[in-house]
Protein backbone atom coordinates (compact mmCIF):
# COMPACT_ATOMS: atom_id res chain seq x y z
CA UNK A 1 0.00 0.00 0.00
CA UNK A 2 2.93 2.28 0.35
CA UNK A 3 5.91 2.86 -1.85
CA UNK A 4 3.39 2.50 -4.64
CA UNK A 5 5.29 4.81 -6.88
CA UNK A 6 8.42 2.69 -6.74
CA UNK A 7 9.59 1.70 -10.14
CA UNK A 8 12.10 -1.06 -9.65
CA UNK A 9 15.40 0.02 -11.07
CA UNK A 10 17.68 -2.18 -13.03
CA UNK A 11 19.51 -4.31 -10.49
CA UNK A 12 23.05 -3.25 -11.29
CA UNK A 13 22.01 0.33 -10.74
CA UNK A 14 21.10 -0.47 -7.14
CA UNK A 15 23.80 -0.07 -4.51
CA UNK A 16 21.74 -0.27 -1.38
CA UNK A 17 18.12 -1.19 -0.82
CA UNK A 18 15.42 -1.89 1.70
CA UNK A 19 12.90 -4.61 0.92
CA UNK A 20 9.68 -4.78 2.95
CA UNK A 21 11.40 -3.52 6.05
CA UNK A 22 9.41 -3.29 9.28
CA UNK A 23 11.01 -2.09 12.49
CA UNK A 24 9.68 -2.02 16.04
CA UNK A 25 10.99 -0.46 19.24
CA UNK A 26 9.30 -2.63 21.84
CA UNK A 27 5.67 -2.77 20.74
CA UNK A 28 5.82 0.50 18.78
CA UNK A 29 6.19 0.09 15.03
CA UNK A 30 8.50 2.78 13.69
CA UNK A 31 9.05 1.60 10.10
CA UNK A 32 6.24 0.11 8.02
CA UNK A 33 6.93 -1.91 4.92
CA UNK A 34 9.74 0.21 3.57
CA UNK A 35 10.88 -0.43 -0.01
CA UNK A 36 13.58 1.85 -1.39
CA UNK A 37 16.54 1.51 -3.74
CA UNK A 38 19.56 3.76 -3.64
CA UNK A 39 21.52 4.18 -6.86
CA UNK A 40 25.33 4.23 -6.78
CA UNK A 41 27.19 7.55 -6.92
CA UNK A 42 24.09 9.52 -6.20
CA UNK A 43 22.99 11.60 -3.25
CA UNK A 44 19.58 10.60 -1.94
CA UNK A 45 17.84 12.77 0.64
CA UNK A 46 15.39 11.35 3.19
CA UNK A 47 12.93 14.03 4.24
CA UNK A 48 9.86 14.10 6.42
CA UNK A 49 8.58 15.50 9.71
CA UNK A 50 10.22 14.57 13.02
CA UNK A 51 9.41 11.06 14.11
CA UNK A 52 8.67 9.83 10.59
CA UNK A 53 11.37 7.16 10.91
CA UNK A 54 13.95 8.58 8.50
CA UNK A 55 16.83 8.47 11.00
CA UNK A 56 15.72 5.05 12.18
CA UNK A 57 15.84 3.76 8.60
CA UNK A 58 19.27 5.31 8.08
CA UNK A 59 20.65 3.72 11.23
CA UNK A 60 19.25 0.34 10.27
CA UNK A 61 21.58 0.31 7.26
CA UNK A 62 24.74 0.23 9.34
CA UNK A 63 23.25 -1.84 12.10
CA UNK A 64 23.30 0.85 14.77
CA UNK A 65 20.12 -0.69 16.22
CA UNK A 66 22.09 -3.78 17.20
CA UNK A 67 22.81 -2.06 20.51
CA UNK A 68 19.18 -1.23 21.32
CA UNK A 69 17.86 -4.34 23.02
CA UNK A 70 14.21 -3.60 22.22
CA UNK A 71 14.67 -2.99 18.47
CA UNK A 72 13.31 -5.71 16.16
CA UNK A 73 13.75 -5.71 12.38
CA UNK A 74 11.87 -7.66 9.70
CA UNK A 75 12.51 -7.68 5.96
CA UNK A 76 15.75 -7.24 4.05
CA UNK A 77 18.36 -4.53 4.01
CA UNK A 78 20.63 -5.25 1.08
CA UNK A 79 24.07 -4.02 0.02
CA UNK A 80 25.01 -5.11 -3.51
CA UNK A 81 22.68 -8.08 -3.42
CA UNK A 82 23.87 -9.24 -0.01
CA UNK A 83 21.56 -9.13 3.04
CA UNK A 84 23.15 -7.10 5.83
CA UNK A 85 21.43 -9.04 8.58
CA UNK A 86 21.42 -12.68 7.48
CA UNK A 87 24.68 -13.63 9.18
CA UNK A 88 26.83 -13.32 6.07
CA UNK A 89 28.25 -10.06 7.42
CA UNK A 90 29.11 -9.19 11.00
CA UNK A 91 27.99 -5.77 12.22
CA UNK A 92 31.62 -4.67 12.14
CA UNK A 93 31.97 -5.63 8.46
CA UNK A 94 28.76 -3.83 7.56
CA UNK A 95 29.92 -0.65 9.27
CA UNK A 96 33.27 -0.87 7.54
CA UNK A 97 31.55 -0.76 4.16
CA UNK A 98 28.78 1.64 5.15
CA UNK A 99 30.15 4.67 6.98
CA UNK A 100 28.14 7.13 9.00
CA UNK A 101 28.23 10.81 9.90
CA UNK A 102 26.07 11.85 12.84
CA UNK A 103 23.78 14.73 13.66
CA UNK A 104 26.12 16.17 16.25
CA UNK A 105 29.80 16.03 15.38
CA UNK A 106 31.30 13.36 17.62
CA UNK A 107 35.08 13.41 17.27
CA UNK A 108 36.97 11.18 19.70
CA UNK A 109 38.58 13.00 22.61
CA UNK A 110 41.95 12.54 20.88
CA UNK A 111 44.12 14.60 18.55
CA UNK A 112 42.98 15.45 15.02
CA UNK A 113 45.48 13.00 13.59
CA UNK A 114 44.48 10.22 15.98
CA UNK A 115 40.81 10.72 15.15
CA UNK A 116 41.41 9.40 11.66
CA UNK A 117 44.34 7.16 12.52
CA UNK A 118 42.26 5.21 15.05
CA UNK A 119 39.94 3.76 12.41
CA UNK A 120 42.90 2.81 10.23
CA UNK A 121 44.69 1.21 13.16
CA UNK A 122 41.86 -1.04 14.27
CA UNK A 123 41.03 -1.95 10.69
CA UNK A 124 44.53 -3.30 10.20
CA UNK A 125 45.79 -0.85 7.62
CA UNK A 126 49.61 -1.00 7.47
CA UNK A 127 51.33 1.75 9.42
CA UNK A 128 53.34 2.93 6.44
CA UNK A 129 50.23 3.77 4.45
CA UNK A 130 48.34 5.55 7.20
CA UNK A 131 49.97 8.96 6.98
CA UNK A 132 49.16 9.27 3.29
CA UNK A 133 45.60 8.11 3.80
CA UNK A 134 45.03 10.61 6.59
CA UNK A 135 46.37 13.48 4.50
CA UNK A 136 44.25 12.37 1.59
CA UNK A 137 41.10 12.05 3.67
CA UNK A 138 41.58 15.53 5.10
CA UNK A 139 42.11 16.89 1.59
CA UNK A 140 39.03 15.09 0.33
CA UNK A 141 37.06 16.72 3.12
CA UNK A 142 38.55 20.15 2.38
CA UNK A 143 40.01 20.80 5.80
CA UNK A 144 43.63 19.89 5.07
CA UNK A 145 44.61 23.51 4.43
CA UNK A 146 43.01 24.67 7.67
CA UNK A 147 44.39 21.92 9.87
CA UNK A 148 47.64 20.66 8.37
CA UNK A 149 49.80 22.55 10.88
CA UNK A 150 47.83 21.49 13.96
CA UNK A 151 47.25 17.79 13.51
CA UNK A 152 48.34 17.04 17.07
CA UNK A 153 45.80 19.42 18.62
CA UNK A 154 42.74 17.92 20.40
CA UNK A 155 39.86 17.57 17.96
CA UNK A 156 37.37 18.83 20.54
CA UNK A 157 38.88 22.32 20.25
CA UNK A 158 37.85 22.71 16.60
CA UNK A 159 34.77 24.68 15.59
CA UNK A 160 31.53 22.77 15.05
CA UNK A 161 31.85 22.91 11.27
CA UNK A 162 35.46 21.74 11.34
CA UNK A 163 34.56 18.92 13.72
CA UNK A 164 31.85 17.73 11.37
CA UNK A 165 34.18 17.81 8.37
CA UNK A 166 36.74 15.91 10.44
CA UNK A 167 34.07 13.30 11.13
CA UNK A 168 33.43 13.07 7.39
CA UNK A 169 37.17 12.69 6.82
CA UNK A 170 37.21 9.95 9.45
CA UNK A 171 34.50 8.08 7.55
CA UNK A 172 36.07 8.72 4.14
CA UNK A 173 39.53 7.52 5.25
CA UNK A 174 38.22 3.97 5.46
CA UNK A 175 36.98 4.05 1.85
CA UNK A 176 33.47 2.89 2.58
CA UNK A 177 31.11 2.30 -0.32
CA UNK A 178 28.18 4.12 1.20
CA UNK A 179 28.17 7.14 3.51
CA UNK A 180 25.07 7.70 5.67
CA UNK A 181 24.58 11.22 6.97
CA UNK A 182 22.08 11.89 9.76
CA UNK A 183 21.24 15.62 9.60
CA UNK A 184 24.93 16.48 9.43
CA UNK A 185 24.36 20.25 9.37
CA UNK A 186 21.57 20.65 11.92
CA UNK A 187 23.94 21.99 14.58
CA UNK A 188 25.99 24.21 12.26
CA UNK A 189 25.95 27.85 11.16
CA UNK A 190 25.03 28.70 7.52
CA UNK A 191 28.63 29.12 6.38
CA UNK A 192 29.76 25.75 7.73
CA UNK A 193 26.60 24.21 6.31
CA UNK A 194 27.48 25.54 2.88
CA UNK A 195 30.96 24.03 3.07
CA UNK A 196 29.58 20.64 4.03
CA UNK A 197 27.03 20.75 1.24
CA UNK A 198 29.77 21.49 -1.29
CA UNK A 199 31.71 18.60 0.15
CA UNK A 200 28.76 16.22 -0.18
CA UNK A 201 28.31 17.07 -3.84
CA UNK A 202 32.01 16.45 -4.47
CA UNK A 203 32.07 13.18 -2.57
CA UNK A 204 29.37 11.55 -4.66
CA UNK A 205 31.73 10.69 -7.49
CA UNK A 206 33.35 8.14 -5.19
CA UNK A 207 30.57 7.23 -2.79
CA UNK A 208 26.88 6.50 -2.56
CA UNK A 209 25.42 9.00 -0.15
CA UNK A 210 22.17 8.89 1.82
CA UNK A 211 21.41 12.04 3.79
CA UNK A 212 18.63 12.67 6.29
CA UNK A 213 17.69 16.33 6.43
CA UNK A 214 15.08 18.64 7.86
CA UNK A 215 16.07 21.39 5.53
CA UNK A 216 14.14 21.52 2.22
CA UNK A 217 16.63 23.88 0.59
CA UNK A 218 19.46 21.56 1.54
CA UNK A 219 17.73 18.58 -0.04
CA UNK A 220 17.22 20.55 -3.23
CA UNK A 221 20.83 21.76 -3.27
CA UNK A 222 22.57 18.42 -2.72
CA UNK A 223 20.25 15.54 -3.58
CA UNK A 224 19.73 13.83 -6.92
CA UNK A 225 16.82 11.90 -5.55
CA UNK A 226 14.53 12.58 -2.62
CA UNK A 227 12.37 10.26 -0.53
CA UNK A 228 9.51 11.64 1.54
CA UNK A 229 8.56 9.65 4.61
CA UNK A 230 5.60 10.10 6.92
CA UNK A 231 4.64 8.12 10.03
CA UNK A 232 7.05 5.30 9.26
CA UNK A 233 6.07 4.90 5.61
CA UNK A 234 7.59 5.98 2.33
CA UNK A 235 4.96 8.25 0.80
CA UNK A 236 6.75 9.33 -2.33
CA UNK A 237 10.14 9.14 -3.95
CA UNK A 238 11.62 10.48 -7.13
CA UNK A 239 14.01 12.91 -8.79
CA UNK A 240 14.51 15.80 -6.38
CA UNK A 241 13.28 18.47 -8.80
CA UNK A 242 10.23 16.44 -9.72
CA UNK A 243 9.30 15.70 -6.11
CA UNK A 244 9.58 19.32 -5.04
CA UNK A 245 7.95 20.89 -8.07
CA UNK A 246 5.37 18.27 -9.02
CA UNK A 247 4.58 16.19 -5.95
CA UNK A 248 2.17 13.38 -6.81
CA UNK A 249 0.92 12.94 -3.28
CA UNK A 250 -0.97 15.64 -1.45
CA UNK A 251 0.93 14.99 1.80
CA UNK A 252 4.25 15.45 0.02
CA UNK A 253 3.03 18.67 -1.48
CA UNK A 254 1.92 20.04 1.86
CA UNK A 255 5.18 19.09 3.48
CA UNK A 256 7.56 20.50 0.88
CA UNK A 257 5.55 23.70 0.78
CA UNK A 258 6.10 23.97 4.52
CA UNK A 259 2.47 23.55 5.60
CA UNK A 260 3.47 21.09 8.35
CA UNK A 261 6.57 19.44 9.72
Amino acid sequence: MCGINTVKMNNDLVKLSAESVNLWFGSKQVLKNINIDFAPNQVTALIGPSGCGKSTLLRAFNRMHDLSPDARIEGKLVLEGQDLYDGHFSATQVRRRIGMVFQKANPFPKSIYENINYGLKINDIPKAERKGIIENALKESYIWDELKTELDKPATRLSGGQQQRLCIARAVALRPEVILMDEPCSALDPLSTLKIEELIVKLKKDYTIVIVTHNMQQAQRVADKTVFMYLGEVIEEGETKELFNNPKNELTGNYVKGRFG
Binding site: S90, T92, Q93, I122, D124
Partner: protein
Protein backbone atom coordinates in the same frame (compact mmCIF):
# COMPACT_ATOMS: atom_id res chain seq x y z
CA UNK B 1 44.75 -7.75 13.65
CA UNK B 2 42.41 -9.67 11.39
CA UNK B 3 38.72 -9.01 11.74
CA UNK B 4 37.90 -12.60 12.70
CA UNK B 5 40.38 -12.43 15.58
CA UNK B 6 39.02 -9.06 16.70
CA UNK B 7 35.50 -10.39 16.74
CA UNK B 8 36.60 -13.44 18.71
CA UNK B 9 38.19 -11.18 21.31
CA UNK B 10 34.97 -9.16 21.38
CA UNK B 11 32.94 -12.27 22.18
CA UNK B 12 35.42 -13.52 24.78
CA UNK B 13 35.52 -10.19 26.59
CA UNK B 14 31.74 -9.96 26.58
CA UNK B 15 31.65 -13.35 28.27
CA UNK B 16 34.18 -12.17 30.84
CA UNK B 17 32.17 -9.03 31.65
CA UNK B 18 29.02 -11.12 31.96
CA UNK B 19 30.75 -13.57 34.29
CA UNK B 20 31.72 -10.78 36.69
CA UNK B 21 28.10 -9.66 36.69
CA UNK B 22 26.98 -13.15 37.65
CA UNK B 23 29.70 -13.37 40.31
CA UNK B 24 28.09 -10.45 42.12
CA UNK B 25 24.96 -12.55 42.58
CA UNK B 26 27.20 -15.37 43.78
CA UNK B 27 28.77 -13.15 46.44
CA UNK B 28 25.43 -12.11 47.89
CA UNK B 29 24.31 -15.72 47.63
CA UNK B 30 27.51 -16.80 49.39
CA UNK B 31 26.94 -14.41 52.28
CA UNK B 32 23.37 -15.59 52.55
CA UNK B 33 24.37 -19.24 52.42
CA UNK B 34 27.11 -18.79 55.03
CA UNK B 35 24.68 -17.16 57.46
CA UNK B 36 21.96 -19.74 56.90
CA UNK B 37 24.30 -22.73 57.07
CA UNK B 38 25.88 -21.70 60.37
CA UNK B 39 22.57 -20.57 61.81
CA UNK B 40 21.06 -23.97 61.06
CA UNK B 41 23.98 -25.59 62.88
CA UNK B 42 23.15 -23.31 65.82
CA UNK B 43 19.43 -24.05 65.82
CA UNK B 44 20.14 -27.79 65.84
CA UNK B 45 21.54 -27.23 69.34
CA UNK B 46 19.47 -24.34 70.67
CA UNK B 47 15.72 -24.03 70.29
CA UNK B 48 14.78 -21.07 68.09
CA UNK B 49 12.18 -19.97 70.64
CA UNK B 50 14.81 -19.77 73.39
CA UNK B 51 16.98 -17.72 71.05
CA UNK B 52 14.26 -15.26 70.18
CA UNK B 53 12.71 -14.84 73.60
CA UNK B 54 15.74 -15.36 75.84
CA UNK B 55 16.62 -12.31 77.92
CA UNK B 56 20.15 -13.41 78.74
CA UNK B 57 23.17 -13.46 76.45
CA UNK B 58 25.75 -15.40 78.39
CA UNK B 59 27.47 -17.84 76.05
CA UNK B 60 30.59 -18.42 78.09
CA UNK B 61 28.98 -19.27 81.43
CA UNK B 62 28.80 -22.86 82.66
CA UNK B 63 25.10 -22.72 81.86
CA UNK B 64 25.38 -20.97 78.51
CA UNK B 65 22.41 -18.86 77.48
CA UNK B 66 21.80 -17.54 73.99
CA UNK B 67 18.98 -15.01 74.20
CA UNK B 68 19.18 -12.40 71.45
CA UNK B 69 16.74 -9.96 73.09
CA UNK B 70 19.25 -7.90 75.09
CA UNK B 71 21.40 -7.45 71.96
CA UNK B 72 18.42 -6.67 69.76
CA UNK B 73 16.99 -4.16 72.24
CA UNK B 74 20.44 -2.55 72.57
CA UNK B 75 20.74 -2.20 68.82
CA UNK B 76 17.24 -0.74 68.52
CA UNK B 77 17.77 1.60 71.47
CA UNK B 78 20.99 3.07 70.07
CA UNK B 79 19.53 3.34 66.56
CA UNK B 80 16.36 4.97 67.87
CA UNK B 81 18.41 7.50 69.80
CA UNK B 82 20.59 8.21 66.80
CA UNK B 83 17.60 8.79 64.54
CA UNK B 84 15.89 11.06 67.06
CA UNK B 85 18.90 13.32 66.74
CA UNK B 86 19.82 12.81 63.10
CA UNK B 87 16.41 13.02 61.38
CA UNK B 88 15.47 16.57 62.46
CA UNK B 89 19.03 17.83 62.09
CA UNK B 90 19.42 16.13 58.72
CA UNK B 91 16.13 17.34 57.27
CA UNK B 92 16.74 20.84 58.62
CA UNK B 93 20.19 20.99 57.07
CA UNK B 94 18.96 19.58 53.77
CA UNK B 95 16.13 22.12 53.68
CA UNK B 96 18.59 24.90 54.41
CA UNK B 97 20.88 23.70 51.62
CA UNK B 98 18.11 23.20 49.09
CA UNK B 99 15.82 26.16 49.81
CA UNK B 100 17.84 28.90 51.50
CA UNK B 101 21.57 28.59 50.90
CA UNK B 102 23.09 30.49 48.00
CA UNK B 103 25.51 29.01 45.54
CA UNK B 104 28.58 30.14 47.46
CA UNK B 105 27.39 28.92 50.83
CA UNK B 106 26.51 25.60 49.21
CA UNK B 107 29.99 25.25 47.78
CA UNK B 108 31.34 25.50 51.35
CA UNK B 109 28.73 23.30 53.03
CA UNK B 110 28.86 20.42 50.55
CA UNK B 111 32.54 19.66 51.23
CA UNK B 112 31.83 19.92 54.97
CA UNK B 113 29.25 17.16 54.64
CA UNK B 114 31.52 15.11 52.39
CA UNK B 115 34.36 15.44 54.92
CA UNK B 116 32.07 14.40 57.74
CA UNK B 117 31.10 11.32 55.73
CA UNK B 118 34.77 10.49 55.19
CA UNK B 119 35.77 10.37 58.88
CA UNK B 120 36.42 6.68 59.67
CA UNK B 121 34.07 5.11 62.22
CA UNK B 122 36.96 4.17 64.48
CA UNK B 123 37.97 7.84 64.74
CA UNK B 124 34.41 8.79 65.69
CA UNK B 125 34.39 6.02 68.29
CA UNK B 126 37.68 7.34 69.65
CA UNK B 127 36.18 10.79 70.10
CA UNK B 128 33.27 9.12 71.89
CA UNK B 129 35.77 7.85 74.42
CA UNK B 130 37.88 10.99 74.83
CA UNK B 131 35.34 13.81 74.48
CA UNK B 132 31.74 12.67 74.66
CA UNK B 133 32.28 10.03 77.36
CA UNK B 134 33.83 12.37 79.93
CA UNK B 135 31.23 15.01 79.02
CA UNK B 136 28.32 12.69 79.68
CA UNK B 137 29.99 11.38 82.86
CA UNK B 138 30.25 14.91 84.20
CA UNK B 139 26.61 15.66 83.46
CA UNK B 140 25.26 12.46 84.97
CA UNK B 141 27.78 11.83 87.69
CA UNK B 142 28.61 8.38 86.35
CA UNK B 143 32.15 6.99 86.42
CA UNK B 144 32.35 6.97 82.66
CA UNK B 145 30.04 8.11 79.91
CA UNK B 146 30.20 4.96 77.84
CA UNK B 147 26.51 4.23 77.35
CA UNK B 148 23.66 4.08 74.85
CA UNK B 149 23.38 7.87 74.67
CA UNK B 150 27.05 8.21 73.73
CA UNK B 151 26.67 5.64 70.97
CA UNK B 152 23.44 7.24 69.76
CA UNK B 153 25.03 10.68 69.39
CA UNK B 154 28.02 9.25 67.52
CA UNK B 155 25.81 7.20 65.21
CA UNK B 156 23.75 10.31 64.55
CA UNK B 157 26.91 12.08 63.40
CA UNK B 158 27.72 9.14 61.13
CA UNK B 159 24.23 8.84 59.66
CA UNK B 160 23.84 12.60 59.08
CA UNK B 161 25.76 12.88 55.78
CA UNK B 162 23.66 10.10 54.21
CA UNK B 163 20.38 11.59 55.44
CA UNK B 164 21.33 15.12 54.36
CA UNK B 165 22.51 14.14 50.87
CA UNK B 166 19.52 11.95 50.01
CA UNK B 167 16.99 14.37 51.54
CA UNK B 168 18.48 17.28 49.65
CA UNK B 169 18.20 15.32 46.40
CA UNK B 170 14.57 14.65 47.23
CA UNK B 171 13.81 18.31 47.99
CA UNK B 172 15.70 19.36 44.91
CA UNK B 173 13.60 16.98 42.82
CA UNK B 174 10.34 18.71 43.75
CA UNK B 175 9.32 20.70 40.66
CA UNK B 176 9.76 24.43 40.94
CA UNK B 177 6.16 24.88 39.76
CA UNK B 178 4.89 23.46 43.07
CA UNK B 179 6.69 26.16 44.99
CA UNK B 180 5.54 28.84 42.57
CA UNK B 181 1.96 27.66 42.94
CA UNK B 182 2.31 27.97 46.70
CA UNK B 183 3.83 31.46 46.50
CA UNK B 184 1.05 32.31 44.08
CA UNK B 185 -1.61 31.79 46.76
CA UNK B 186 0.31 34.00 49.14
CA UNK B 187 2.31 31.47 51.16
CA UNK B 188 5.76 32.53 52.32
CA UNK B 189 8.96 30.55 52.02
CA UNK B 190 8.60 28.70 55.30
CA UNK B 191 4.96 27.78 54.75
CA UNK B 192 5.85 26.55 51.29
CA UNK B 193 8.65 24.41 52.69
CA UNK B 194 6.54 22.86 55.46
CA UNK B 195 3.23 22.46 53.62
CA UNK B 196 4.31 21.86 50.03
CA UNK B 197 7.93 20.99 49.43
CA UNK B 198 8.57 18.58 52.31
CA UNK B 199 5.26 16.65 51.84
CA UNK B 200 5.97 16.42 48.11
CA UNK B 201 9.44 15.05 48.82
CA UNK B 202 8.20 12.72 51.59
CA UNK B 203 8.96 9.38 49.87
CA UNK B 204 12.52 10.56 49.11
CA UNK B 205 12.97 11.75 52.69
CA UNK B 206 11.69 8.41 54.02
CA UNK B 207 14.23 6.69 51.78
CA UNK B 208 16.93 8.92 53.28
CA UNK B 209 15.81 7.99 56.78
CA UNK B 210 15.83 4.28 55.96
CA UNK B 211 19.34 4.51 54.53
CA UNK B 212 20.42 6.32 57.71
CA UNK B 213 18.80 3.62 59.85
CA UNK B 214 20.57 0.91 57.84
CA UNK B 215 23.87 2.64 58.34
CA UNK B 216 23.31 3.02 62.10
CA UNK B 217 22.13 -0.55 62.72
CA UNK B 218 25.09 -2.06 60.89
CA UNK B 219 27.79 0.16 62.35
CA UNK B 220 30.29 -1.73 64.49
CA UNK B 221 33.37 0.18 65.64
CA UNK B 222 31.62 3.27 66.98
CA UNK B 223 29.20 1.39 69.21
CA UNK B 224 31.89 -1.10 70.19
CA UNK B 225 34.06 1.73 71.50
CA UNK B 226 31.42 4.05 72.95
CA UNK B 227 28.61 2.05 74.52
CA UNK B 228 30.45 0.20 77.27
CA UNK B 229 29.38 -3.27 76.10
CA UNK B 230 27.76 -4.51 79.33
CA UNK B 231 25.93 -7.69 78.47
CA UNK B 232 23.10 -7.16 80.97
CA UNK B 233 19.63 -6.38 79.63
CA UNK B 234 19.64 -2.69 78.58
CA UNK B 235 17.91 -0.37 81.03
CA UNK B 236 17.97 2.94 79.20
CA UNK B 237 20.00 5.60 77.45
CA UNK B 238 22.20 6.26 80.44
CA UNK B 239 23.20 2.64 80.80
CA UNK B 240 25.81 0.60 79.08
CA UNK B 241 24.50 -1.53 76.22
CA UNK B 242 25.89 -4.09 73.84
CA UNK B 243 24.65 -4.21 70.27
CA UNK B 244 24.58 -7.17 67.88
CA UNK B 245 27.54 -5.83 65.89
CA UNK B 246 29.63 -5.19 69.00
CA UNK B 247 28.89 -8.67 70.31
CA UNK B 248 30.14 -10.26 67.11
CA UNK B 249 33.24 -8.05 67.12
CA UNK B 250 34.10 -8.84 70.73
CA UNK B 251 33.38 -12.56 70.79
CA UNK B 252 34.31 -13.83 67.33
CA UNK B 253 38.01 -13.23 67.96
CA UNK B 254 38.05 -15.51 70.98
CA UNK B 255 35.56 -18.24 70.25
CA UNK B 256 36.78 -21.72 69.20
CA UNK B 257 35.89 -22.80 65.68
CA UNK B 258 32.60 -24.72 65.20
CA UNK B 259 31.34 -24.54 68.77
CA UNK B 260 27.77 -23.61 69.65
CA UNK B 261 29.01 -20.16 70.61
CA UNK B 262 30.68 -19.79 67.19
CA UNK B 263 27.44 -20.73 65.42
CA UNK B 264 25.50 -18.43 67.74
CA UNK B 265 27.44 -15.43 66.45
CA UNK B 266 26.44 -16.34 62.90
CA UNK B 267 22.84 -16.65 64.03
CA UNK B 268 22.78 -13.13 65.46
CA UNK B 269 24.58 -11.94 62.31
CA UNK B 270 21.78 -13.53 60.27
CA UNK B 271 19.23 -11.56 62.28
CA UNK B 272 21.25 -8.39 61.69
CA UNK B 273 21.45 -9.19 57.98
CA UNK B 274 17.69 -9.68 57.75
CA UNK B 275 17.00 -6.42 59.57
CA UNK B 276 19.31 -4.38 57.32
CA UNK B 277 17.92 -6.17 54.27
CA UNK B 278 14.38 -5.24 55.29
CA UNK B 279 15.38 -1.65 56.03
CA UNK B 280 17.12 -1.33 52.67
CA UNK B 281 14.20 -2.86 50.80
CA UNK B 282 11.81 -0.42 52.45
CA UNK B 283 14.20 2.42 51.55
CA UNK B 284 14.35 1.21 47.97
CA UNK B 285 10.56 1.02 47.82
CA UNK B 286 10.34 4.69 48.77
CA UNK B 287 13.09 5.67 46.35
CA UNK B 288 11.19 4.02 43.50
CA UNK B 289 7.96 5.60 44.63
CA UNK B 290 9.64 8.98 44.61
CA UNK B 291 11.07 8.42 41.13
CA UNK B 292 7.71 7.40 39.75
CA UNK B 293 6.12 10.38 41.36
CA UNK B 294 8.77 12.65 39.88
CA UNK B 295 8.31 11.17 36.45
CA UNK B 296 4.55 11.65 36.61
Amino acid sequence: MKLAAREKIDDAVKLLFRTTGLLVIAILGGIFFMLIWNSVAFFLKIKPLDFITGTQWNPSGSNAEYGILPLLVSTCLVTLGAMTIAIPLGIGTAAFLSEYAGKRLKSILKPVIEMLAAVPSVAIGFLGIVILGPGIAELTGQSNGLNALNGAILLAVMALPTIITVTEDALHGVPQSYREASYGVGANKWQTLIRVTIPAAAPGILAAVMLGVGRAIGETMTVLMATGNASAFPKGFFHSVRTITATIAIEMGEVPYQTTHYYALFAIAAVLFLITLAVNLIGEYFVNKFRKYQAA
